[in-house]
């Protein structure tokens, strides 16, 4: 127990991307569900154990309708791991979490009636093709990041022109630049990028992490508080330096 406390073994937080199927419901939902039933009847295992995302972008739907749709999908053993394109007001705490920034992959073919083709479908369904490179690998935030807000940008760098409040969180695949006071938590290089850095013009952070290595406010040298600093990794060591 004591060794556990005195020798900090950092918990490594890493991002992962997976391929999921996106279901796009259409009005009227009865007809759409009937079609889904038809598809499922041709291949009973098609939706089982497959990660599914419900895409409601641009769909006219309210919260109770969405809940009903989720229930009806649940009755059909279709489990939804996330909802894409939903307004925050649509989602309740008991619903799957919102998902954003999905990249389109090749379409997955619905199972054909021929059993032999059906047997092949699983291989087809999960092509390990790498996602196409994004053209905008950076995110610019010109507002202060408030307590309770979490920015997740696995694609690249995040720049904040303003402060990051205590209780706010930024998770970036690349480096994080804060032109203001950093009072919250920042995790850079979460997709396994050890060369990512964290910059801030005034350090009051709760936690900083690069590629899974982290330091809490307590571990940070006291004389760096309130200063402009940068953090980087040299091998397995966390480095801090003044920017002045």
């Amino acid at each position: 127990m004591t060794s556990l406390l005195t020798q900090p073994r950092p918990i490594r937080l890493k991002g992962r991307s997976f391929l999921a199927l996106a279901l796009t419901p259409e009005h009227p939902f009865e007809d759409w569900l009937a079609q889904l039933d038809h598809l499922a009847s041709r291949s009973t295992n098609f939706f089982r154990r497959r990660p599914l995302v419900l895409d409601v972008t641009g769909l006219e739907i309210d919260r109770s309708q969405l809940r009903e749709l989720l229930d009806k999908l649940g009755e059909r053993n279709v489990r939804i791991m996330g909802i894409e394109g939903a307004r925050p007001s649509l989602l309740g705490p008991d619903m799957p979490p919102p998902m954003a920034d999905g990249r389109p992959a090749s379409d997955i073919e619905a199972p054909a009636e021929d059993e032999r083709v059906e047997a092949k479908t699983p291989e087809k369904a999960a092509p390990p093709s790498p996602p196409p490179p994004k053209t905008s690998p950076s995110m610019l935030v010109t507002e202060p990041v408030r307590s309770g807000q979490a920015l997740f940008f696995p694609e690249g760098d995040v720049t904040v022109v303003g402060s990051v409040a205590s209780g706010a969180e930024i998770i970036a695949g690349g480096s994080v630049h804060i032109y203001g006071t950093l009072r919250g938590r920042v995790m850079a290089g979460t997709m396994g990028n050890g060369s990512a850095r964290i910059f801030c013009s005034k350090l009051e952070a709760e936690l900083v992490a690069i590629d899974g290595y982290y330091k809490t406010a307590e571990d940070l040298e006291r004389d760096l508080r309130g200063k402009a600093v940068q953090f980087w990794l040299e091998g397995d060591t966390f480095k801090v330096g003044s920017l002045a």
């Binding site: 307590s147 309770g148 409040a165 706010a168 006071t181 009072r183």
Partner: protein, 271 residues
């Protein structure tokens, strides 16, 4: 069309209800029609602060559920005839507040009042999010201490994401009302300084209300401080805040910073 103001804070006990009543009375003193709506269903307080607890017949929930007309539930203040109160229910719970019901009531109030002040419950749950949902302006009530400031920051985040204005891509006007400010403690460094709070929250300052026995006394006699003791320091702060809400440009004085300011106040009270 009236303006809808939400008075919110996240943290409890910072002075939302006191401020709602005091600002409501200060605005109504000018002859503008003001209604203060209590959203704290199940833990209503506003009727006590405004001294109307013995005149409550119907409440917000009755109106939302169609059991009473809006006009039946509104209580007119005995001292100011342009000041009204829409009380919350003490017996029902927050689940009776529906988004559609609140929308209908607020829309109706906007038609006949110049100012609709929504006194939000503490927390970030249903009652609080519905109170802020239809607002045009938000007043974030904060005490100069770290937990209150952090909760206010969280609320500002919600104001920028969960309100109707935010969902329509507009920016809500937000003001900071710093309450229970104690100049002596601030001088000793026991309290966050005004500049620190402003730096963290980065929204414009509506006013600084000093910690005062006058506020407590006013609550106990069931009268907003701006009515019971209008020459007291907190009442003056609320009157100034009300003028700033109307759009007047008025410099904010930090209590205690200018000795002359405070000396004058004490001098006047002694006289």
């Amino acid at each position: 069309m009236g303006k809808v103001i939400v008075v919110t804070s996240g943290k409890g006990g910072v002075g939302k209800t006191t401020s709602s009543a005091a600002l409501g009375a200060a605005l109504a003193r000018n002859g503008e029609k003001v209604v203060v709506v209590d959203f704290d269903v199940g833990l209503r307080n506003l009727d006590l602060i405004m001294g109307a607890e013995r005149r409550v017949v119907y409440d917000l929930i009755n109106v939302i559920q169609g059991e009473a007309k809006l006009a039946q539930a509104l209580i007119r203040d005995k001292r100011l005839e342009t000041l009204y109160l829409l009380p919350a229910s003490q017996t029902r719970d927050k689940d009776n507040l529906t988004a559609e019901g609140v929308e209908t009531v607020i829309a109706a109030l906007k038609q006949s009042f110049d100012w609709v002040i929504c006194d939000s419950p503490a927390g970030i749950e249903r009652g609080a999010t519905l109170a802020m949902r239809h607002a045009d302006v938000a007043i974030v009530v904060t005490n100069p201490e770290v937990s209150s400031v952090r909760d206010s920051d969280r609320i500002i985040g919600l104001l920028d994401s969960k309100t109707l204005m935010a969902e329509q891509g507009e920016r809500m006007e937000k003001h900071l009302l710093l309450t229970r400010y104690d100049p002596a403690r601030a001088e000793r460094g026991d309290m966050l300084k005004v500049d620190d709070v402003l730096e963290i929250l980065s929204i414009p300052l509506l006013g600084i209300v000093p910690e005062s026995m006058d506020v407590l006394r006013a609550s106990n006699v069931g009268s907003p401080v701006t009515l019971s003791d209008e020459r007291s320091a907190p009442a003056i702060a609320y009157f100034d805040a009300a003028r700033r809400l109307r759009g007047e440009l008025l410099p904010v004085t930090i209590p205690g910073e200018k000795r002359g300011f405070f000396g004058k106040l004490f001098g006047r009270k002694a006289a």
